[in-house]
């Protein structure tokens, strides 16, 4: 007989660490990653230039999940709720990939001239770039990058350490110490928003030093949120097949996460339409080339695919309540969204370099897989290293009390 008491939230079961199951999931992602590494190596020798562009795409893609995890983790600390308790370990594991992202930044840092027009010697003759030289110069670029990593790293280190301390203490009443997550997360989110905004300017927008759009940082933040929600749902739909996730990741939780992903899909469309409408209507020579490039020629088809698969399809699909509650259905939407996140980044970065021929390049995807081959094992290992559910968080039971089935 099914009882409705809290037996299924027994702490010993929830604190179990299903390392074997997670290991199996990890090895599956390695196969794809391995293929990516091979292809990337081929690409490296075929075209150094395209390799570098695709490398930036792959780097920004995985970084967006690292930083998106940090952002959503802090939002969860501020708001509480069952969806956050269930997703928390996934985000914590996601943030712990930051050291890898620091190392992977080095190829970009050592190839500024290959990527950024303002770093090339010709830029000295470009009057527009000269006006911005106080900001767009290599030393300041490096200083800012170091600052970003220090801020992100500091937040990630502290949040993860406190979380581990919580696991090691026995369950107890809510005490004064439990406010510290919230106290840090408020200012932490402010810092994250500021740093990601400047990161998006430095690492992506300044690829074309003439272009500027005030909403660019917001687009990057929204994209990170969307990628992270899709990634979370994808991972969770795999973890839900065994204990302890099977006990806590109920359809109600998937419903909430699905709604959040739906919200991010709509925000993505909203930010993009805003930018498009404003730039398209004003038709100013500083800005309009951005869209002339992307709405014509080979990129037109990429734009259409993005519209259909990053917005229309997920939108119609996620309107349905039943589909949001079904892990094996919603994970397909999440997969499409993740692939489209890559396409969106290529759409943003690619046209700066590739004016002729096809828009998407196979190397873009190869490098996403190749960097994933490094990122994902780290993620799975961090995930397996901690209990999958924060059952010792004093707010845990309160949050889970409202979860039906």
């Amino acid at each position: 007989m099914a009882t409705h008491s809290n037996d299924h939230l027994d702490e010993a079961v929830l604190m179990a660490r299903p390392e074997a199951e997670i290991g199996r999931l990890g090895s599956r992602s390695l196969v794809l990653g391995g293929a990516g590494v091979l292809l990337a190596l081929v690409g490296f020798f075929v075209s150094r230039e395209t390799f570098l562009q695709s490398y930036l795409v792959g780097y920004i893609f995985w970084l967006s999940i690292t930083l998106g995890s940090l952002g959503i983790l802090m939002i969860h600390h501020l708001t509480g709720g069952a969806w956050g308790m269930v997703g928390r370990r996934i985000w914590e594991a996601g943030t712990k990939t930051l050291p890898l992202m620091v190392i992977l930044f080095l190829p970009i840092a050592f190839n500024l001239e290959g990527l950024y027009a303002w770093a090339r010697p010709e830029a000295a003759h470009d009057p527009v770039v000269q006006l911005k030289v106080a900001y767009l110069n290599a030393p300041f670029f490096y200083v800012r990058a170091v600052l970003f990593f220090v801020i992100w790293g500091g937040l990630i280190y502290v949040l993860n350490r406190w979380s581990r301390e919580q696991d090691e203490e026995p369950a107890r009443l809510i005490g004064p110490k439990d406010r510290r997550f919230r106290l840090l997360s408020g200012p932490g989110l402010c810092l994250l928003v500021i740093t990601v905004t400047f990161m998006s300017v430095d690492w992506v927008m300044s690829l074309d030093p003439h272009f500027y759009s005030t909403i660019f940082g917001v687009l990057m933040l929204g994209g990170q949120g969307l990628a992270t929600m899709a990634f979370t749902i994808l991972v969770l739909s795999a973890l839900v097949r065994f204990d302890p996730m099977a006990r806590v990741a109920k359809p109600d939780v998937f419903h909430d996460l699905g709604k959040l992903m739906f919200a991010f899909v709509m925000l993505w469309a909203y930010f993009n339409v805003s930018q498009l409408l404003i730039i398209w209507s004003a038709n100013l020579p500083e800005e309009i080339p951005f869209y002339l490039e992307r709405l014509n020629g080979p990129w037109r088809w990429v734009s259409t695919i993005l519209l259909l698969l990053q917005f229309v399809l997920p939108f119609l699909f996620l309107l349905s309540r039943d589909l949001k509650r079904n892990p094996s259905a919603v994970r397909w939407v999440a997969t499409v969204i993740l692939v489209m996140r890559v396409v969106d980044l290529v759409w943003t970065i690619g046209p700066v370099f590739r004016h002729e021929g096809s828009g998407l390049h196979w190397l873009d995807f190869a490098l996403v897989l190749a960097i994933g081959a490094l990122w994902l094992p780290l993620f799975w290992r961090s995930l397996a290293g901690r209990p999958l559910v924060p059952a010792r968080d004093p707010y845990f039971k309160e949050a889970m009390a409202h979860v039906g089935h």
Binding site: V273, L276, L277, W280, S281, N283, L319
Partner: protein
């Protein structure tokens, strides 16, 4: 009381039981469903989770209407703007193309919402049969508290299992404050 009296007296809408709590109402509805009554209704001063299911009511029409209306509104608005700007009176405005699809997004969006929202409310009212100037349940003066703090359960006279005495006995078995026959 006999069948005879019921046949000669005024026509009856049904038997109405008055309860003190939401729990009692939900239990009554569940019990009536188990006893095989199908034409029943439950009245409460606020929505109660699970009560509609307990009287065997389930309907998923409104979301479908709303979806269709929204799609219609959006399509209509977009094609209307196209027709106006590119076919009926093409006019060069600031060198923009006649078919300025980017500019047509806001109005199309607003009309999607407008159509969908009005459909949600209108279909809710229409399916509920509102506005309705007269309904027999109001013949019971105690029913004024159905919108305040009391809970009412009605087994209608048209129910195939309705029998004035038996149904009254059944309702009395549910510990109501009072059971009243409501005139039609």
């Amino acid at each position: 009381m006999s069948h005879h009296a019921a046949a000669t007296g005024p026509a009856i809408h049904g038997l109405m039981a008055e309860f003190d709590s939401a729990q009692a109402l939900l239990d009554a509805a569940t019990a009536a469903q188990k006893a095989g009554y199908t034409r029943v209704d439950a009245y409460s001063p606020f929505p109660i989770h699970g009560l509609a299911e307990a009287i065997g009511f389930r309907e998923r029409l409104i979301p479908k209407f709303v979806f269709v209306a929204g799609a219609t509104g959006g399509t209509l608005a977009f094609s209307f703007q196209y027709w106006v700007s590119a076919i009926d009176y093409p006019l060069n405005i600031g060198g923009r193309p006649y078919f300025s699809w980017v500019s047509f997004i806001p109005v199309s969006f607003e009309l999607t919402i407008l159509f969908a929202a009005f459909t949600a409310v209108i279909s809710m009212l229409a399916l509920n049969g509102l506005p309705q100037p007269y309904h027999p349940v109001f013949n019971n003066p105690a029913f004024a508290r159905a919108s305040q703090d009391r809970f009412f359960f009605v087994i209608e006279a048209t129910d195939p299992r309705f029998d004035l005495d038996e149904t009254r006995a059944f309702l009395n078995g549910l510990n109501p404050r009072e059971v009243v026959a409501v005139e039609d």
